[in-house]
Amino acid sequence: MHPAPSIIAFSTFSGLGLGLLFWLGVDNTAPTGWVAFAFFAIAYILAVGGLISSTFHLGRPERAVKAFTQWQTSWLSREAWSAVAALVIMGLYGLFLVFFETQIAVLGWIGAFFSLVTVYTTSMIYAQLKTVPRWNTTLTSVLFVSLSIAGGALISGRVTIGLILLLVAGGIQAIWWKTGDARFKQSGTDLKSATGLGKIGEVRAFEPPHTGTNYLLNEMVYTVGRKHAQKLRMISLLLMLVVPVFLLLLPYPHVFGVLALLSHIAGVLVSRWLFFAEAEHVVGLYYGMR
């Protein structure tokens, strides 16, 4: 699949922002006043910035508001609703923390719930697609949510829990990669079933419909990144997990914590790029590709 920068930025940064909102919501001793303002500002810049960047890949961004209508069937529509719910509720919760130094715990919990639901709905946009076997698993949702919570813990300065969550998320990421490599084959879709000609013999794509490229090939048969996939996986895991864990174990968490966070974000960006670049859509079979 084509790794659109707007989508990679969206899912990484809004995941991080919503993860931070989750921790602010469930915190029994949430910050108040200017400290709260700083935290909420960061969370909203990440979450809202991510959401806005997601509209850049639309063919008709001026109609984006119509995406709220089909929540009954569409995960993309559910994501839109859930994001608005999370941002409005957490906004209200933050307002009381910043200006009235009052914590309305119930609002925080509800907001935290919707923050995670939003990350889950994002993950389901990909996990629901049978056409992309690598994504078509519950593990995709587990991966997105665990990365979001771990990233949120890092930003909110939770060292111990952050360490544990980093290890968990990194482990899930490794399993997702490992099992993902076999999933296309397991899906049972191949050129034989795609053409229905398998009963006669071995099928080979002889001639494509056109000599040039097309939307389908650009969007769904993106093969550029796969060559270095293994190396990029290692780089991603190193940046996302190993470096931050090492930095968090050092003293002065305020200095090294920031570096750990930056490294983690870089690692997640690489992982998200691979998430798209490595994913094979079954339509590639018709073109004799993967």
């Binding site: 639309l58 008709r60 119509k66 209508t69 569409s74 879709t189 071995e202 769904m220």
Partner: protein, 249 residues
């Protein structure tokens, strides 16, 4: 409305005969010709006369080579367009309700005024039947020529999809696949019409007729062979002399 109808009154669709398709691409051209100037936004081309041309098409013809266990390989031309699936995954993923499946005839359409061009429906389609138009920013797909098949301004023989009307080898058939007595349904029953990627669970309405088994040459057909044995012999006379001399050199 992106909820799929429980059932549709009719299941209008195509039956494509892989035995008779000659791969001439006439259906591709007629499809583009009709649909670029009728229903919805035109089908744009990008850089059509340049070094790297591309464009939006609703129908494309692939060619596959199939190698049976014995005998020569077969070349099979394979037209592919929207299959108007009963369980169309492209419809349910649409966030705006632009994609829908009609209750009356099962045709899957895009209301281009509501399309935000997010491309998720194209991702959800296993067949590559949907293409985002670069110029218009909206999703394009086969409409089964909805503006022809009910069009009373056209002579009756033209009230079929453009691809069916134009096919010179009669490899494309149009009709109601929900009615077991219809000509297309009978053709499917007779020839063992098949679904593409049945494991994807899309329940396509369009069916493909597999190529008929090929005739095989057997020994008996070769009774004239002895009479056709090669008659070339060793050269004699001058040529024989020349041959020997040249051989010695």
């Amino acid at each position: 409305m992106t909820q799929l109808p429980e059932k549709t009154d009719r299941k209008m669709g195509l039956v494509i005969d892989l035995d008779t398709c000659v791969g001439c691409h006439a259906c591709v051209v007629s499809c583009k010709g009709w649909n670029t100037e009728n229903y919805g936004a035109p089908l744009s081309d990008q850089n059509p006369y340049g070094a790297d041309p591309s464009g939006t098409f609703l129908n494309r013809v692939h060619s596959y080579e199939v190698q049976p266990e014995s005998g020569p390989a077969q070349l099979i031309h394979f037209p592919k367009s929207c299959l108007h699936c009963e369980d169309a995954p492209c419809v349910t993923v649409c966030p705006t309700g632009a994609s829908y499946k009609r209750t009356e005839d099962g045709i899957v359409l895009v209301n281009e005024k509501d399309c935000i061009g997010c491309g998720l429906c194209a991702w959800a389609c296993p067949y590559g039947a949907r293409e985002l138009d670069k110029a218009e920013g909206v999703m394009k797909k086969c409409t089964l020529c909805v503006d022809r098949i009910y069009n009373e301004n056209l002579p009756e023989e033209d009230r079929v999809p453009a691809c069916v009307r134009t096919c010179p080898s009669n490899a494309r058939h149009f009709g109601d696949l929900g009615d077991p007595d219809s000509e297309v349904s009978q053709l499917v029953a007779e020839r063992g019409g098949m679904d593409l990627m049945p494991e994807q669970g899309t329940k396509p309405v369009n069916k493909y007729l597999p190529p008929r088994p090929k005739d095989r040459l057997n020994e008996e057909i070769d009774i004239l062979a002895p009479l056709l044995a090669p008659v070339a012999e060793e050269p004699k006379g001058f040529l024989g002399w020349l041959d020997k001399k040249l051989e010695k050199l």
